[in-house]
Amino acid sequence: MRPRNALRVEDLTVAFRGGHAVVRGVSFEIAAGEAFGLVGESGSGKSLTCRAVLRLLPRGAAASGRVTYGGRSLLELGATEMQALRGSTIAMIFQDPMTALNPVLRVGEAIAQVTQAHEGLGARAARVRAVEMMERVGIRDAARRAAAYPHEFSGGMRQRIHIAMALAARPTLLLADEPTTALDVIVQAEILRLLDDLRREEGMSLLLVSHDVRVVAGLCDRVGVMYAGELVEVGPTRTVLRRPEHPYTIGLMNSLPEAVIDERLRAIPGVPPDPGRLPPGCAFAPRCELAIDACRAAPIGMSETVPGHWSRCIRTDRLDELRRGLAAADSVHT
């Protein structure tokens, strides 16, 4: 019996052994059937946040806080329960299709193993289901191609197979960590479309992590923006992207190529802070035009600026100045 429930992440912190936190107090919720996007630059902690949900952190990293799904506290589950949960209730797909699949297993076999692990199907039934899954993700001639090895497929195809594996045991939540980053633009769009279709058909929740705002924009109902290990803004995708409530998000939107005004790309000056050397107050303050002393003095909490829209900024009243150049939002399809 799989609960159709929300994913609730509360105050999630991820740190490496003996080191500083690279994910700091992240909290968000994903309702059943909802698609939630997590955007941010490399190093913002979005990938680790996603991995922490299934406890797939790299060696030496530990997570603390609370992550609940269907009423169960995920961070406290034992190894056997975790194994039963992964793939069947919550599934995850990864970034690089070229290395994500076991090179010595035929793809049909790889998919079949997932159903055998979770649904106790016999070998033949599992193989039939595997072929079904391959067809659903758009692989033609699936019955024959199930006997092929990963290296016989292109990147886009491999990612589809990867998705087929993840969805084979019918999970209710799918975590996607940069699933299209390694693919060509056209293939990206196909994969995103596939994810969207599958999600709607299954009524599945989706957590989509990407450094590319455009990827998240087309697919997600709500989006969270991460900076320096923290969530700085969360809200419905349309409003976050069209009318951001945080200077960083505005900067992010402005730096999109679509946002080129008078022929100059506008990058945000400066670089994100080192996790070991965070300023006492707002992490973005050193790069922010609107920063005042209050911003730098103490950590800023999340506040609900507009119902359903949260921001970690105390200068939201002054944001219109920055929003003036925000041409990009229209060109990003939401």
Binding site: M92, V114, Y149
Partner: protein, 312 residues
């Protein structure tokens, strides 16, 4: 598959020729008259003249080589004056014992190395890993002949667990006799095996597809077998194959130490008795053995790894 084998064989041909040239040149390294050296104490002017004519010592080098090849193709590698037998038969009848010992040693070597390599790989960078690596590093420096006699002292003399030397009767008795020698050789090669296996396993454990497997919630047995071992299998094959030279070297020494009547002890005894024709042929045989094992390793690799195309 046939084409793959044929292709491989073609590549080996030059090496086989090269090996035969080296072996051919060996006898000519002997200071003084090779014929005299070969005959040793049997040297009489007539015999010397006959051997000189057989080897064609008065002819240019390349013609000597052709004569050598000619003899070789007929299985004639000279005769041992010490044993009064054809070098070929002498050597060949001892090969089975050596092969048994080598295989036995390889099996024990893997039995020792695989568990420790797996343990060290799974617990990499922890104190367990460091301890295992340290112990095996220490083991590299243990001379095989010394280890042999120490083990013989402990397990054969002090504690009458194993017989001392020889190969006994057939079947299990032979295995019994060969256990100590095989164990010695196995300990001798285990550091090399352990090191290779450990780094291959670490590579596999770190692979993205293993993370995928975990993320899919596969059962631990499935993960271990289908993901880790199936990919780690290829190193298991190649590790012994690539190190067969080291394995053979150890076997030679240990055969002599334990008095096992194989090709290795034949080699050493022949060196001590200056039986040059045997030395020459045994060297050739052992080199061919290495080449053969490398070929089989390649084929096994190709059979196991689907990415290796058998078409070429």
């Amino acid at each position: 598959m046939i084409r793959y084998i044929a292709g491989r064989l073609l590549l080996i041909l030059p090496v086989l020729f090269g090996v035969s040239i080296v072996v051919f040149m060996l006898i000519r390294l002997i200071p003084g008259n090779p014929a005299v050296a070969i005959l040793g104490e049997h040297a009489t002017p007539e015999l010397i003249a006959r051997v000189e004519q057989q080897l064609g010592l008065n002819l240019p080098l390349w013609r000597q080589y052709l004569i050598f090849l000619g003899h070789a193709s007929r299985g004639d590698f000279g005769a041992s004056f010490f044993y009064q037998e054809s070098v070929f038969t002498l050597t060949m009848e001892r090969i089975p014992v050596s092969l048994m010992l080598i295989t036995y040693a390889a099996v024990i070597g893997l039995l020792i190395s695989v568990p420790f390599a797996t343990w060290a790989a799974v617990r990499r960078e922890t104190s367990v890993d460091h301890a295992i690596r340290l112990v095996f590093t220490g083991t590299i420096g243990i001379p095989s002949f010394w280890l042999g006699i120490v083990l013989a002292l402990l397990l054969s003399v002090k504690v009458r667990l194993f017989p001392l030397g020889g190969i006994g009767g057939g079947g299990f008795d032979m295995l019994w006799h060969l256990t100590l020698p095989a164990l010695t050789i196995a300990v001798h090669i285990s550091p090399i095996l352990m090191r290779s296996l450990r780094s291959s396993l670490i590579e596999v454990l770190n692979a993205d597809y293993v993370t995928t497997g975990i993320a899919m919630g596969l059962r631990p047995t499935t993960l271990l077998v289908s993901y880790v071992l199936r990919n780690g299998l290829t190193p298991f094959i190649s590790v012994v194959g690539l190190n067969v030279g080291w394995l053979i070297g150890g076997t030679i020494i240990i055969e002599q130490v334990f008095g096992v009547p194989g090709v290795g002890s034949l080699l050493i005894t022949s060196i001590l008795t200056r039986d040059y024709t045997i030395v020459q042929f045994v060297t050739l045989v052992l080199a061919f053995l290495v080449i053969l094992v490398n070929l089989l390793t390649d084929l096994a690799y190709a059979a196991v790894d689907p990415r290796v195309s058998l078409q070429r």
